[in-house]
Every structure is written in structure tokens, then in C-alpha cells.
């Protein structure tokens, strides 16, 4: 076996391409799935931002992330179109479709708690203690749905 440096480089670059293409295909297409993943990720960051703001006693920084989360939560169920069976895309999809009323109820709890937090943030004299309680409600709504449909 002779060692041909160019063949070696060629093989290496093929390896690299194969490895790169096996990275999780981030579906950039504006599908409902891509949209809800983006929404969940943004909510995760919004939740952390609000937690930071409340820890620092900075009530004015709560409004914007809370509004964004409430807007996402309000249309969450519409991002699970039941006619498009993308069960193979998301392992939890089957359970969601089977128990859609329950799933929708949990989405409603998310919508209500994020709306509540956004409203409190926008109120004339926001109450820090009540806002902390509202944030806990909101986080409980994330947990409840994930426990049921993601097993975690």
C-alpha cells in the first residue's frame, strides 16, 4: 500500500463531509415544527431573562420577554396541525395527537400564565412578589406539559 498524500486528503475531506451532513438537519424551512422549536427556544431564553430581571428587582425588563412568550403561547396549538401527520419527526407527536384536548389544556395553562405575567409587568405599579409567583406558575406550566408529552 503506497501512501499518496492527495488520496489521503481526499479521503479525509470525504469523512468530514459525511460527518458534517450527519449533523442534526436544522430544518430552516418555515414549517410549523421549525416555528414551534424556535418559539420554545425563545421561551426558554425569555424565562431565564425574566428570572434574571426579577432577581435583580428590575421589573421594567420583564414586559418584553413576557409579551413575546404570551404571543407564542397563544398560538401554540395552531403550530401542531393535526392533518399533517409528522409523527415521525417528533416522537411525542403521536401522544399529542391522541390526547389533543389534554395537550391543548396544557397549552392554555401556558398561555394563561404567560399572559398573567405580561399583564402584571405592564401594570402601573408591578408587585415583585406577585410577579415571582406568576413566573413560578409559568414554569410549572412548562413542566406539566413536558412531563406528560416528553417524559421529562
Amino acid at each position: 500500500m503506497t501512501q499518496d498524500p492527495r488520496a489521503m486528503l481526499r479521503t479525509l475531506s470525504v469523512f468530514t463531509l459525511v460527518a458534517a451532513s450527519s449533523l442534526p438537519a436544522t430544518s430552516l424551512a418555515a414549517s410549523p415544527k421549525a416555528e414551534r422549536i424556535a418559539g420554545y427556544k425563545a421561551s426558554k431564553l425569555a424565562d431565564a431573562t425574566i428570572k434574571d430581571a426579577l432577581q435583580a428587582g428590575n421589573v421594567s425588563a420583564v414586559s418584553e420577554p413576557a409579551e413575546a412568550m404570551a404571543a407564542f403561547a397563544a398560538r401554540l396549538t395552531s403550530l401542531y396541525p393535526r392533518e399533517v401527520g409528522d409523527a415521525f419527526v417528533s416522537p411525542s407527536m403521536e401522544a399529542i395527537l391522541k390526547n389533543f384536548p389534554d395537550f391543548a389544556q396544557k397549552a392554555d395553562a401556558f398561555a394563561a400564565s404567560s399572559r398573567d405575567l405580561a399583564d402584571r409587568a405592564a401594570a402601573g405599579s408591578p408587585d415583585l412578589v406577585q410577579m415571582r409567583a406568576a413566573l413560578e406558575n409559568l414554569q410549572a406550566s412548562c413542566l406539566a406539559c413536558h412531563r406528560s408529552y416528553l417524559g421529562r
Binding site: 501512501q3 479521503t11 479525509l12 460527518a19 450527519s22 449533523l23 426558554k44 431564553l45 424565562d47 431565564a48
Partner: protein, 220 residues
């Protein structure tokens, strides 16, 4: 023209380097499986073990056995070019291209293990040091950690494919020596120098202690 010199068996890898090496695939598989099944206590434990292993390896790479030392096998662009042009590498251990992969893998493991300590998944679990920094920052570090894990997986995949390529296409078995410590070679070079096992055990103990302190703080 072919000159066949007699082959001899020499020892190239010491026990610490071999044990370190094989602990990694075990730990990394455990890390991916635990992250996937959300067994986060196990995940944190395996990740902290990896951190201790990598710290050990960085020290062993400076004061350990010859073939484990970075100075022995990291050769820079010229050395890599020479190797690719067909010159035999200076080290009996890693070849110059493999050396780059060693650095990349160690770097990726270090970044992942440290970022994991500060990571927050936003809902269920956060690393033991996430409380020391802002929540939003910890969430962003968690995202970096998750993305970085795929970079590590890609690097590890290339690493495995490269050894298979050496094995199948170049008829060079690099895998068995990492188990037995020995290679057969026709090259007339002095055998590498080795440093004793007790020192390695001492270094690993200190590395594990540093990680434990970092994660749990001083016992009060």
C-alpha cells in the same frame, strides 16, 4: 526497491495513556445516552469524570511518558506537510495528522465538560455552577453545550473512520497497540522513555480532587 528489515516489537503506549484513551468512548457514550434519556445525575457525574480525565491528560502530556507528551507528537504545519509527503513521523506514537485530532478532541471535551458545569436547560436541570452566573447566560451556555456535543460527535466519528482507514486501506493497525501498548516496527529508532505509573495515579487523584472542589466546593 524494497529493503525488508527485521521487525521488532516495542512498547509505545504506557498504561495511563491507554486507560485514559478507553475511558473516553465509554464516558462519551454514557454522556450521550444519559443526555438523551434525561438521566442528568448520571450525565453530570460522567461529565465531571471526563473533566478530571482531560485535566490529567493535559498534565501527562507535559510531564508523562514520551509518546504521551505533546512535544513528542505535535509538529506544526511543516511536520504535517512532510508526513503527508511520505516522510515517516518523528514520533513512534501519534502521527502529525492524528496529533491534530488529539488536540481537537481534548479541546472539545474540555469545552464541553466546563460548559456543562454552567449550563441550564431552562426547565429541568442545570449544572452545579449555573447558579453562579446569570440565568440567561446559563441558558445560552446550555445551547452552546448542546451544539458543541455534536461537534465532538463529528470529531469522534472522523477519528474512528481514520483509524479504520489506516486499518483497511493502509494495512496499519493502530487499534491493537492502544490496547496492548506494543507495535511491531522495522524502523531503527530508540524505544520511547516511560514515566512510572504511581506518578500518573497521583496526577489523576489531584485532577479528580480539583474537579470535586470545583463542583462541590470545600466541605464545611
Amino acid at each position: 526497491m524494497m529493503t525488508t528489515r527485521p521487525q521488532r516489537t516495542i512498547r509505545v503506549w504506557d498504561i495511563p495513556t491507554r486507560v485514559f484513551h478507553w475511558c473516553l468512548p465509554v464516558a462519551v457514550i454514557a454522556l450521550f445516552v444519559s443526555a438523551d434519556t434525561y438521566a442528568m445525575e448520571l450525565h453530570a457525574l460522567a461529565g465531571e469524570a471526563v473533566l478530571a480525565l482531560v485535566l490529567f491528560r493535559l498534565v501527562w502530556g507535559t510531564i508523562g511518558s514520551q509518546t504521551a507528551r505533546f512535544r513528542d507528537f505535535v509538529v506544526g504545519p511543516r511536520g504535517i506537510a512532510d508526513y503527508l509527503a511520505g516522510h515517516p513521523p518523528k514520533s513512534l506514537g501519534h502521527n502529525p495528522v492524528g496529533a491534530m485530532m488529539v488536540l481537537a478532541l481534548l479541546g472539545a471535551l474540555l469545552v464541553l465538560a466546563v460548559s456543562g458545569l454552567f449550563a441550564d436547560d431552562g426547565i429541568f436541570y442545570s449544572g452545579p455552577l449555573a447558579g453562579r452566573i446569570g440565568n440567561a447566560l446559563a441558558v445560552r451556555i446550555g445551547e452552546l453545550h448542546a451544539t458543541g456535543a455534536y461537534v465532538l460527535a463529528a470529531l469522534a466519528g472522523i477519528h474512528v473512520l481514520a483509524t479504520l482507514w489506516h486499518l483497511l486501506l493502509r494495512k496499519r493497525n493502530l487499534i491493537t497497540p492502544m490496547l496492548t501498548g506494543r507495535i511491531r516496527t522495522e524502523r531503527d529508532v530508540p524505544p520511547p522513555a516511560f514515566v512510572g505509573l504511581p506518578l500518573a495515579c497521583g496526577i489523576f487523584t489531584v485532577a479528580a480532587g480539583v474537579v470535586a472542589l470545583l463542583v462541590h466546593g470545600l466541605p464545611s
